[in-house]
């Protein structure tokens, strides 16, 4: 029982990473209706910016804030320059665009900051949290920030005019345009916000997985999986999905014999597919109604 609780706690801690990433994934999916494969790389790049600022002697929270502003602007710039022209292109062409963006960001970061791993500081400290060895204050802080972010997003989308406009632009672009919403800029705004959330995720994750250009590879896969598991239309689902994937991955690694680190990922993915087969829109997703 002791082992079980510990493993669940450890799972929640890694789950917080996935939840953060999944939240960013869902944000951009809401805004543009695509999964952004370059999301992880954009987050990684933002994290490097934060690291660079700190190397130059900027205090942690200032660096954090500046990075958020930079990521937000960067997200909008990428949308305006690269993906707005592709808005009318086929979906699969857009996906190819994401892959191209992935390659570019990864390669540029690798050349600028090289591939050696770097330590990244944490504002929460890394002592054991509430006497538990498995969950540190940093991880607890990470969970706190994720939940806080989720609440903020909920408030933003439910109770502000611009949040309402973004929802309208995402769900019915044509009607939204008719009532005077600038849908094109709503998409750009969605990119900016997703990029900024990605930056937060990156900054929170970096102290755990260490900073290097490929740090997001594994995390992004889990982030996608979590987002899909929770239902791509639901930010709450993304966060819950993230924690579920984290916990399940840990339990499978502990209790199923023969499952080492190697097979953790395939097993987690197999579980997700099983869930999807039973609930095709994810746990919290709303099935899309089709008009024939």
């Amino acid at each position: 029982m002791e082992l079980f609780i510990n493993q669940v706690l450890a799972g929640v801690a890694t789950g917080a990473i996935y939840a953060c990433m999944a939240l960013a994934v869902v944000m951009i999916y809401q805004a543009i209706d695509h999964l952004n494969f370059a999301q992880g790389e954009m987050a990684m790049f933002s994290t490097f910016i934060a690291w660079q600022l700190m190397q130059w002697g900027v205090p942690y929270w200032w660096a954090f804030l500046l990075t958020l502003v930079f990521s937000f602007a960067g997200g909008i710039a990428i949308e305006r320059a690269l993906f707005k022209p592709l808005a009318k292109a086929p979906v699969l062409t857009n996906v190819a665009g994401f892959i191209a963006l992935f390659a570019i960001v990864n390669s540029v970061a690798g050349l600028t900051w090289d591939f050696t791993i770097k330590q990244f500081p944490t504002p929460f400290g890394s002592s054991p949290f509430l006497g538990s060895q498995l969950i540190s204050t940093h991880q607890a802080g990470m969970i706190g920030v994720t939940v806080g972010l989720l609440i903020l997003l909920y408030l933003f989308f439910q109770f502000t005019r611009i949040g309402l406009a973004m929802r309208a632009a995402a769900s019915l672009p044509e009607s939204a345009r008719l009532v005077g919403i600038n849908t094109s800029w709503m998409i750009a705004l969605g990119w900016g916000m997703a990029s900024a959330i990605g930056a937060i995720a990156g900054i929170l994750i970096a102290p755990v997985v260490f900073l290097e250009p490929n740090m997001m590879g594994g995390v992004l896969i889990y982030g996608f999986a979590a987002a899909v598991l929770g239902g791509l239309t639901s930010p709450l689902g993304a966060v819950v999905g993230g924690f579920l994937v984290g916990v399940f991955e840990n339990l499978a690694g502990t209790y199923i014999p023969g499952v080492g680190n190697e097979l953790k990922l395939p097993i987690a993915l197999a579980l997700i597919i099983t869930v999807l087969v039973l609930k095709p829109a994810g746990l919290f997703g709303r099935p899309i109604v089709k008009r024939v």
Partner: protein, 338 residues
């Protein structure tokens, strides 16, 4: 959020390509064929090897094209089928001493079955969700191949070495050249079969499902059967390509068949034009040669150069090589009239 009911009445994810636009005219096909036959006679062995790989990847891209361009289903798991085909061929040749040419149909049939079975659970998924399911398959495959249980057959992490076949009947051509012509023959056979498949009743059923699944089922198309069938056919062709790949590279190892391969094949399909079968060879050329070109331009930034080139292509021709071919055809038509 998203309290509004989402009503998706927009266009399907994969654009509807009319049947006629999916293939190449007779004249153009013959010119292409002549180039493919004569070209390799004048180049070095290494280039012949690259051309063989070009054909093999073209087959794999073609297979994805049948699945996505034909039936509208999306797959990131093609590398898994490719791996199964490659391992089937390698194991048959090395453990059972089967002739290399005979391993290909076996690889194709095994992969067909595998794809058909995988298509069953995938039936309930579409779009992004299907992409994730196939993606999971691609991620799991290298790990499964490394499992200790199969190590006796697969060689585990080490992989298997495959012997390169000699030209038969004492033909005076090098192994590479023989393999090229052998691959070319297989590829042409599969290409013709695919074109005919898409023109047949089954092909029309695929396209009906792609364009509107509900309308297709209302017309009496067995949606479940044809969707899984498309998966099976696609996997089968990918399996044959994998088998050929194993023979050409003379080596199979789990790390050769990662998700990167599946992503490459996907890019090949987009660059070649989704739903345009002849484009597969253009897409295949892109994924084989452009990374090398990128490496040549800048070693440190090869990824960035590749990304920029890819962006250039999709900016200039969002519909891939098909668009180029259409424009060319249009201009030719004008010339003839004028």
């Amino acid at each position: 959020m998203s309290a509004v009911d989402e009503v998706a009445s927009d266009a399907p994810a994969v654009e509807a390509v009319p049947k006629k636009a999916m293939t190449l005219g007779l004249g153009a096909s013959l010119v292409m064929l002549a180039l493919l036959i004569i070209g390799p006679m004048f180049v070095k062995n290494f280039i012949v090897f690259q051309l063989t790989m070009l054909l093999i990847y073209a087959l794999a891209v073609l297979a994805l094209n049948i699945l996505t361009g034909g039936s509208g289903q999306f797959s990131l798991g093609q590398s898994a089928f490719y791996a199964v085909g490659a391992y089937t061929s390698a194991i048959l040749m090395e453990h059972f001493g089967v002739n290399y040419a005979l391993t290909l149909p076996v690889a194709g049939i095994i992969c067909f079955g595998f794809g058909f079975l995988f298509g069953q659970p995938a039936l309930r998924l579409s779009g992004i969700y299907l992409a994730l399911a196939t993606f999971a398959l691609a991620v799991a495959m290298p790990q499964l191949l490394k499992l200790g249980v199969f190590e006796h057959w697969t060689g585990g992490v080490q992989g298997l070495v495959v012997t390169k076949p000699d030209a038969p009947f004492g033909l005076p051509i090098s192994q590479d050249r023989w393999l090229y012509y052998f691959t070319l023959t297989v590829a042409i056979g599969i290409y013709i079969a695919s074109v005919n498949l898409l023109k047949s009743r089954s092909g029309r059923a695929f396209m009906a499902i792609r364009d509107n699944e509900i309308a297709a089922s209302a017309m009496g198309v067995d949606v479940a059967l044809y969707k899984t069938l498309a998966f099976g056919v696609s996997a089968g062709i990918t399996g044959v390509a994998g088998g050929l790949g194993a023979i050409a590279v003379q080596f199979v190892a789990p790390d050769g068949y990662t998700i990167t391969l599946a992503i490459s094949l996907f890019l090949g399909m987009v660059v070649g034009g989704v739903g345009w079968l002849p484009g597969s060879i253009v897409g295949s050329a892109f994924i084989i040669f452009v990374p090398n070109i990128a490496e040549g331009i800048s070693k440190g930034l090869s990824g960035a150069v590749f990304g920029v080139l890819l962006f250039l292509v999709i900016f200039l021709v969002p519909h891939g090589a098909r668009q180029v071919a259409m424009v060319a055809q249009h201009m030719l038509g004008k010339l003839r009239k004028g």
